[in-house]
Assembly symmetry: C2
Homo-oligomer: 508 residues x 2
């Protein structure tokens, strides 16, 4: 039983966090690199998680009045160019389509049929959706226009990392148009709030909502709001953003309408998105040295039943008991949905199977063997405890308690993540404290430093850029919470007067 | 009331079917052309229908043991080349990515960062998924591998038509690998059956399932099975296909495994897909001269409630009654799902609103005005009847009957489509009959001819191609149904001996 004494993932989180992450993605069978530079294959377990995220977010989008639609993958280069900051922001990372067929030349297929105007594969869709909005919006009666798109996008990343930064990724992008700036800002903030709630209540990740500084805004936006998560190497991940675009894109695309006074006006637009990056954030926020831990609310399978079959004669009886339990559990529900339960019937050793599910992070495992049948009991193990914390309980009791167990795991994960963040968030008063906080604290783990720092900031955009270059620390956000923001004071870096505190951190 | 005397769509189906189709797509607000050549924008009502199709098919795929995953959008050209027939089949219609950024030159953004190997945007994913399968399959224990992907694909169509043939479209592509040819063929036929059932039971479209002749096979397949629908101009639409790929793609991609005898063997693979083309098929199968008719089972909204507000004083009362009814209806269910109900509160004239919903093809409309409130009744209109067939019934009765009404509309649409197909399907004995059948029968409608012809075929692939060139008639399939196939006989075109009958038709 030597295997049970050690952890499934090597290296451990506190030895080499980036490598631990790669190993967890591999061991949990979530995704893998493909032969296409920077593009990943999302395997069934990873995609199953994305399906849950998608379905649950989609309900929230529809409840807030949005409808889904679909727009072209390809964007004419001239469209991107219409908004100057926007094209500048994306030009360096666009996949460009220049031809529309292949032709055999000297025994090799080469591009042929050159296009008169090249297209880029959408890195984001403000411009192409703006063109459609310009056709759809004629009068103030057509507003607000509340649209969302689930799609793939491409940004040619130079340093890809599975889920966190890939050349192609899956996401949703909300795009809305409004009559007044107040309504557009209200929408921007509402969706910012939806993201905060989704991360907290569905992914069990507490985030700090706030506004980005000018230098970190979406190219072309007037305001960018973000939700910032802390993961277990104490770095920040920007998990979702919501942008107030003012009239920049409506002027570029010609989204104008006849106003209440009969005059032509330009619409006020917003956009907002989250992506498969949420999966990377979830792994880094909750995983442990045995692999992934998926919050039950979004787990593709919440409970796995593992038949223990020591000899062939008991197979039928054990499997029958497993499927009976499966059916009873499926009749229960949590978060207004039937429990997602699976029996793993594969012909593999019990230990191997058990460890596979530990690494995959399934919230609850139930083992049933011939001895359990005799006693009418089952062995239940929660993934958020130690992996040896089995409890033997009556089968019917396991069914009756399961929803509660899942809720308890969910809230435990949230509390744990919140406690971790609070432990590693510090209020700083001086530059000296600042540099000490962000200096790696463990020579074996060069990346691990203090965490999130709250401190006053009164510098310029140039000073912010210089700080980042020198220290790799960025301003994650100007927090929305007035308590975090605090009163005016003195900038910890520049010593200049500052309106309030910001959140500083190193980030993915 | 002149408007009520005429139909909403002009031209009528029997005047100019292709133009009628364009007008219905526009009037139902399903989709529109974009500025990107051949690419469409799928608007919320069209996308809502796609969401229903997706969700309902996805259940069927999962019930048959498949899991969803996601693979890269881009395919290296060298991958396509690995299967000779495959690359030949798709080379003429590939969007090719050759650069990975844009650069400002003489005030214009131009492609820069040339890729060492170009990529194509997937026209289908056999080769890129095959590469992943080659990594995943090591032993016979890893088989069968049953995967599905929901994705966008591109085929550079020269004559695009909304939904039916667009450069970019949305689809699902199933890809599976098996230990033996028998298992792979069983899978191919199973999914062929799933498509037939889905079309019949969900889209109310009766299809003829069968096998494609050699010339019509998927490039690289050994057998291609199809489901063929007849639409109202009596043409055929290939609505879905399922392919037995033999070992062609497993050899090209190296999907081999250690067999039960310890020897390396190549897997046997299949692929199968349906696309947003289903929406075009549905429109052409069920629409009438007032617009679209959506089968209730897949309608994004099954029942729309239209408040009639002749004067401001009654607004509150009428709206309250509408929402009360909405809630009661939502507590009812059909096809194991709560009814999808919407109140249209928009501040538009009742007639305008009513016609909008007729054109959108919502299955049931309910009008409520102040006079109805007094009587406790509502006015219910089914979309599959004439648009003046209102029935006034008690509100509670409308609730109690609604599920049954929806089921009745669903089966009426299926019966209607089946009767239409039967009326326009003829068994032919001779070339003379053949040419008469496929000659346009109405000079005002040059496209409308006989319909589906069942006749013996004993020609070669070359003779089939010649027939198509000369008459525009293709062999849609060798029908699976032994009754349709019949006994051996004499080929209606070549006079040669023939094994059985095939389905001839003109097609989209």
């Amino acid at each position: 039983m030597a295997k049970q004494q050690q952890n499934a993932i090597s290296p451990a989180r506190d030895k080499n966090f980036p490598e631990w992450y790669q190993q967890v993605v591999r061991a949990s069978d979530m995704a893998e690199n493909s032969e296409v530079r920077g593009c990943m294959v999302i395997k069934p377990w990873g995609y199953g998680l994305w399906e849950q995220i998608q379905a649950q977010l989609d309900v929230m989008f529809k409840e807030t009045g949005h409808k889904n639609a679909y727009f072209p993958l390809l964007i004419p280069v001239s469209y991107l160019e219409k908004e100057a900051t926007h094209v500048e922001g994306f030009a360096t990372e666009c996949a460009v389509v220049t031809h529309h067929r292949l032709e055999l030349q000297d025994g090799k297929m080469v591009p042929a049929g050159k296009l008169s105007e090249p297209y880029v594969i959408r890195p984001t869709s403000e411009t192409i959706i703006g063109a459609a909005f310009a056709r759809w919006v004629q009068s103030y009666r057509d507003l607000p226009l509340l649209i969302n798109q689930w799609a793939n996008v491409m940004r040619w990343e130079m340093r890809p990392r599975l889920f966190l930064r890939t050349a192609e990724f899956l996401w949703q992008e909300g795009h809305t148009a409004h009559e007044t700036p107040e309504q557009a800002m209200e929408e921007t903030c509402k969706m910012h709030g939806v993201y905060e709630e989704f991360l907290r209540e569905h992914l069990a990740i507490p985030v700090i909502p706030g506004e980005k500084t000018e230098g970190e805004r979406f190219p072309g936006a007037l305001n960018t709001f973000t939700v910032e998560a802390m993961v277990q190497d104490r770095k920040a991940i920007q998990a979702g953003t919501s942008h107030f675009l003012g009239q920049n894109f409506s002027k570029a695309a010609g989204i104008d309408f006849e106003g209440r006074e009969g005059k032509r006006e330009f619409a006020w637009t917003t956009s907002w998105g989250v992506s498969t990056r949420l999966i990377g954030t979830l792994i880094m926020a909750h995983g442990d040295d045995d692999g992934l831990i998926i919050p039950p609310r979004v787990a593709p399978t919440q409970v796995v039943i593992l038949p223990i079959i020591p000899k062939e004669e008991v197979r039928e009886e054990v499997l029958a008991a497993c499927h009976q339990l499966e059916e009873k559990l499926r009749a229960e529900s949590a978060w207004n949905a039937p429990l997602r339960v699976e029996v793993d019937e594969r012909d593999l050793g019990g230990g191997v199977k058990n460890w596979e599910w530990i690494k995959k992070g399934v919230p609850v495992r139930i083992e049933i063997g011939p001895r359990d049948l005799e006693k009418g009991s089952v062995a239940v193990t929660r993934r958020d405890g130690g992996h040896r914390d089995k409890s033997f309980i009556a089968s019917d009791e396991a069914v009756a308690q399961m929803a509660e167990t899942l809720l308890s795991i969910q809230s435990n994960l949230l509390e744990r993540a919140l406690a971790f963040r609070e432990e590693h968030t510090k209020e700083l008063q001086s530059a000296e404290e600042f540099y000490a906080f962000f200096t790696p604290q463990n020579s074996g783990q060069p990346e691990i430093h203090g965490g999130f720092a709250l401190g006053h900031w009164g510098g310029t955009a140039e000073e912010e850029e210089a700080l980042q270059k020198e220290s790799k620390v960025t301003i994650r956000c100007i927090p929305s919470d007035p308590e975090l923001r605090g009163e005016s004071g003195v900038c910890v870096i520049t010593g200049k007067p500052a309106e309030g505190r910001v959140v500083f951190a190193k980030a993915y």
